[in-house]
């Protein structure tokens, strides 16, 4: 066991890093092959003869190809890293062992900004469709359609919302805006329309 592995914090960091998925070798090969193919694409001029000007062109396209390949591989690895650290963060939050506390502050900060599930409920027997629209879903009715309960009167939807203060409204039958009768309301200073207010925060 190395000295680094004996350190509990470093050991945990190493454990998390080992969980990262291996890079997609096939994808990397395909990108490199595509860049290589672009490199030998015939340019204007005599075949087999490389003029100084053509040599510069080839270098430019090689650079573009390599940049594209690097960007692709970078994005792929970044995505894998981000996904893994997110799941790792969720795992760490559940840990209660006090010896593992040194890694908590960073995770707690990430968790503070993570969206929180919030349920919206509205009462209407006559509506055919109801959506909740607000700044948390960019006022897009398609993103939060409410579901009618079995009694036919209560509608609800639960959606993740970032911590903070949000303005929203209910949109009935794709046309009528209605405020939440159970929430405070505020006038939008820019558009002059009233909206309901919700404040959400993590316990």
């Amino acid at each position: 066991m190395t000295e680094a592995e004996r350190d509990p914090i470093l050991r945990r960091a190493l454990d998390e890093l080992r969980k990262l998925p291996p890079p997609d070798i096939g994808a990397m090969r395909r990108v490199v092959a595509a860049a290589a193919a672009a490199r030998v694409t015939p340019f204007d001029g005599e075949p087999g003869v490389v003029s100084p000007r053509r040599g510069r062109s080839i270098r430019v396209w090689m650079a573009v190809g390599m940049a594209a390949a690097s960007a692709f591989v970078g994005f792929a690895l970044r995505g894998a890293w981000t996904a893994t650290t997110s799941s790792a963060a969720r795992t760490v939050v559940m840990v209660t062992d006090s010896t593992r506390s040194p890694l908590r502050p960073v995770v707690a900060t990430e968790t503070d900004a993570a969206p929180i599930s919030h349920q919206f409920v509205f009462n209407s027997r006559s509506a055919h469709t109801i959506s909740v629209v607000g700044d948390f879903n960019r006022w897009n009715p398609a993103k939060a359609a409410m579901v009618r309960s079995s009694d036919g009167e209560l509608w609800s939807v639960t959606i993740p919302i970032a911590p903070g203060r949000h303005t929203y409204a209910f949109m009935i039958d794709d046309s009528l805006f209605t405020l939440d009768p159970t929430a405070p309301k505020a006038r939008d200073p820019d558009l002059g329309a009233d909206g309901s207010i919700v404040i959400v925060g993590r316990p």
Binding site: R56, V64, M171, P184, D188, D190, I199, G201
Partner: protein, 222 residues
């Protein structure tokens, strides 16, 4: 060929950026000139490192509510300006959520950049989106901005959790909705909250000397 290659790459990048901007904006019912202005506002905010979600949300709301195009443009520009102000007030390293919360708070009459700076100075290393959200809502409910700022700062000092902040804001909202005066509700709710928080550390603040923030003491200010 070099120039052609660079031009091609430039065009691809430019068209990609425009596609991203237009893809995220509900521009289908907006005339071309207005759409161009809105895309420019969003792109400019993005280039300055500001969160663009609040701007896009404002544009979407305007479109959904069938607001006049010029009003939507002014609204989007106002949001961008407030985000810029909020970022400056919450320096040095606010999160996107902090900036969005600060921008929203600045839309409430009475909340100033100085208030955001005061909150940030009390909590320099932690996210402040929720305390700022509650500050905004308290002021919107009728609490004077100075008093609301002092209270939020004091609660941060005393270790109030986000949940406790949210509960305070929602409880005051509910009381006001039932007809109570905002200040009266706030004083009563603070009595319950301060009773469970850590004792006052003696930090210098106007709120520290305010009887309404002392655990177990009755509210003396209306």
């Amino acid at each position: 060929m070099n120039r052609r290659a660079l031009l091609l790459v430039g065009l691809i990048v430019a068209s990609g950026r425009a596609a991203v901007a237009q893809d995220s904006l509900p521009l289908s019912n907006i005339d071309r000139e207005t759409a161009s202005l809105l895309v420019r506002i969003v792109d400019s905010a993005r280039a300055r490192g500001l969160p663009t979600d609040p701007i896009v949300a404002k544009i979407s709301q305007g479109v959904l509510r069938r607001a006049a195009p010029d009003r939507i443009v002014v609204a989007a520009q106002s949001v961008a300006t407030r985000l810029e102000d909020a970022r400056a007030a919450l320096a040095p390293k606010p999160t996107a959520n902090d900036i969005a919360a600060g921008g929203d708070a600045l839309s409430v009459t009475g909340v100033t950049k100085a208030a955001l700076q005061a909150v940030r100075s009390t909590s320099p290393n932690q996210p402040v989106a929720v305390p700022i959200a509650v500050l905004a809502q308290l002021v919107a409910s009728g609490v004077p901005a100075k008093r609301a700022t002092e209270i939020v700062m004091e609660l941060i000092r005393r270790g109030a959790s986000n949940r406790q902040f949210v509960d305070l804001g929602n409880n005051v909202n509910a009381d006001v909705g039932r007809g109570a005066r905002a200040m009266a509700s706030l004083d009563v709710r603070l009595q319950g909250l301060t009773a469970v928080l850590a004792p006052n550390t003696g930090a210098v603040s106007a709120a520290a000397a305010d009887p309404g923030l002392q655990s177990g003491s009755g509210p003396k200010k209306p």
